[in-house]
């Protein structure tokens, strides 16, 4: 039986009279890598921010791990947010803190019972996952773009999330670094058995990670399928992405 970890129904969001999301439906199955594909400005970030409760939709229903996040109070929402990690397009590293402090920040505020050594071990484990143990005492500003992305990924992993939402994980990176990040995404999914929703317009990324692809076009989930199914589609709006 397929278990849905995220279930979005009839989601609508407008800014003024600009309908960004227009009756959008989508579900994320436990353990899968789902890519949401859409062109720049199509509302991908808005969608993913609705899921985590950063943007309040005008209409619709969003269930995350069986709970309707739009009706939760702050405490319950925070509980869900621990289980759902979010990788920002801009990384959003805390630039006044070292890498270690960045990783400790969520940890110290959720796992009070941890000793200093345990916190340290978890920080090092998260850094090991992304291969950047040596940067632990550096400031984010001293790191390259690819390294920053990996640290941001390590920070999302530190609370051992069940679901990871990636907002354009390869945008702005060079092709080689992009492949490294994609490989890392796959490795993490295998190791921790997370469910991932990856938002992108980078076709190389799509090809390497996607088990299913949802096309976000005109604010709707226009089509959904595997890479092979969609790449052979004769629909102009879909095939435009696969040229």
């Amino acid at each position: 039986m397929t278990e849905f970890v995220i279930k979005i129904e009839d989601l609508c969001k407008s800014f003024g009279d600009h309908h960004v999301l227009d009756h959008f439906d989508l579900s994320l199955i436990r353990g899968e890598n789902l890519v949401v594909l859409g062109k720049s400005g199509s509302g991908k970030s808005v969608l993913i921010k609705c899921i985590i409760g950063l943007i309040e939709p005008d209409h619709g229903k969003i269930q995350v791990l069986g709970q309707d996040i739009l009706t939760l109070d702050q405490t319950d929402l925070d509980h869900i947010r621990v289980k759902v990690a979010f990788l920002f397009q801009s990384n959003a590293l805390y630039d006044s803190m070292t890498v270690r402090e960045n990783l400790e920040f969520p940890l110290r505020r959720h796992s009070f019972q941890l000793s200093a050594e345990e916190v340290d071990d978890m920080v090092m484990e998260a850094l090991q996952n992304v291969g950047l143990e040596h940067t632990v005492d550096m400031m984010p500003a001293e790191l390259s773009g690819g390294m920053r992305k990996r640290i941001a990924l390590a920070r999302t992993l530190i609370l051992k999330p069940e679901i990871i939402l990636y907002d354009e994980p390869t945008t702005g990176l060079d092709p080689i670094t992009s492949v490294e990040i994609i490989t890392l995404i796959n490795k993490i999914q295998e190791k921790y058995k997370t469910s991932s929703m990856i938002i992108t317009h980078d076709m190389k990324c799509v090809k390497m990670v996607a088990q299913r692809i949802a096309m976000l076009i005109d604010g709707k989930c226009y089509a959904i399928g595997t890479y092979d199914e969609l790449s052979t589609s004769t629909d102009e709006k879909i095939s435009a992405f696969f040229d």
Partner: protein, 255 residues
């Protein structure tokens, strides 16, 4: 007519939002988890950042005020009253308001810019989605630190100002340190000191909460950050004068 009307509406809107933001401070600030470490760090940063400028200004004001008062006092033959007069002026008004305005310029803008840039680079959102409370970590600590540090700075500024005044008096005549301060304090009653001290907590709170509010609601882009820093200073300075005006009225009631 359209522009002033729209302006008034957005002004009232903004005022309401600021009050709600301040209310949130009282709702969330006194419930665990307490961000003690960050609060202590902010106290240090805020005090350290503003102390040099506050000290320098206070010293010069004390010195200059005394020198400029002197000719008229001599004219009336009451130059012995200089310490008493300067003492009242500094402790009741000049010390608090001047320190608060410098504080607004220095700390208001730096809080506004810091939180503003955290907002536009999505760092505040990142705290939010990791299920931690950015309001507690950023706003409560900074506002509380500003509220606690400004009164301390004002006391220091008063002392430095009076010392400046003591030096200025001694440019013209010889007055011992002990006698100068005896003259100052003989003329100061609790009713002069206490209200002046209490209002500085409100000044500090105003600077902290406005800086945080402006930063927290910064518009996207680098321009937004500059705007946040700038309007923090403007709004908190105006608020300081308004609070001062109210404080004087209230103090009058007890006189």
């Amino acid at each position: 007519m359209l522009v002033p009307k729209a302006g008034l509406k957005s002004f009232l809107n903004e005022t309401g939002e600021t009050f709600r933001f301040a209310l949130r401070f009282f709702q969330q600030g006194f419930r665990p988890r307490y961000e003690v470490e960050e609060f202590v760090r902010q106290c240090f940063v805020i005090g350290y950042q503003s102390l040099p400028l506050v000290a320098l200004t206070a010293f010069i004001i004390g010195l200059v005020l005394t020198m400029q008062l002197r000719p008229s006092m001599v004219n009336y033959g009451v130059e012995v009253q200089i310490p008493a007069m300067v003492g009242i002026a500094i402790v009741r008004e000049i010390g608090p308001i001047l320190t608060a305005l410098i504080f607004a310029g220095k700390i208001g803008s730096s809080i506004g810019a810091e939180l503003g840039s955290m907002k536009v680079t999505e760092q505040i959102d990142a705290m939010e989605v990791s299920g931690t409370n950015p309001f507690k970590y950023l706003v409560v600590t900074r506002t509380l630190a500003a509220t606690m540090m400004l009164p301390i700075l004002v006391i220091l500024a008063d002392a430095i100002s009076l010392f400046g005044s003591y030096l200025a008096v001694n440019l013209y005549e010889t007055l011992t340190f002990g006698l100068f301060f005896k003259k100052v304090f003989d003329n100061l009653a609790y009713i002069d000191v206490i209200p002046a001290f209490i209002k500085t907590f409100f000044f500090g709170f105003a600077v902290g909460i406005i800086g945080c509010y402006k930063g927290y609601h910064s518009k996207k882009g680098t321009e937004g950050v500059g705007l946040s820093a700038n309007s923090s200073v403007v709004v908190s300075s105006v608020l300081i004068f308004i609070i001062d005006l109210i404080a004087v009225q209230i103090a009058e009631l007890f006189q």
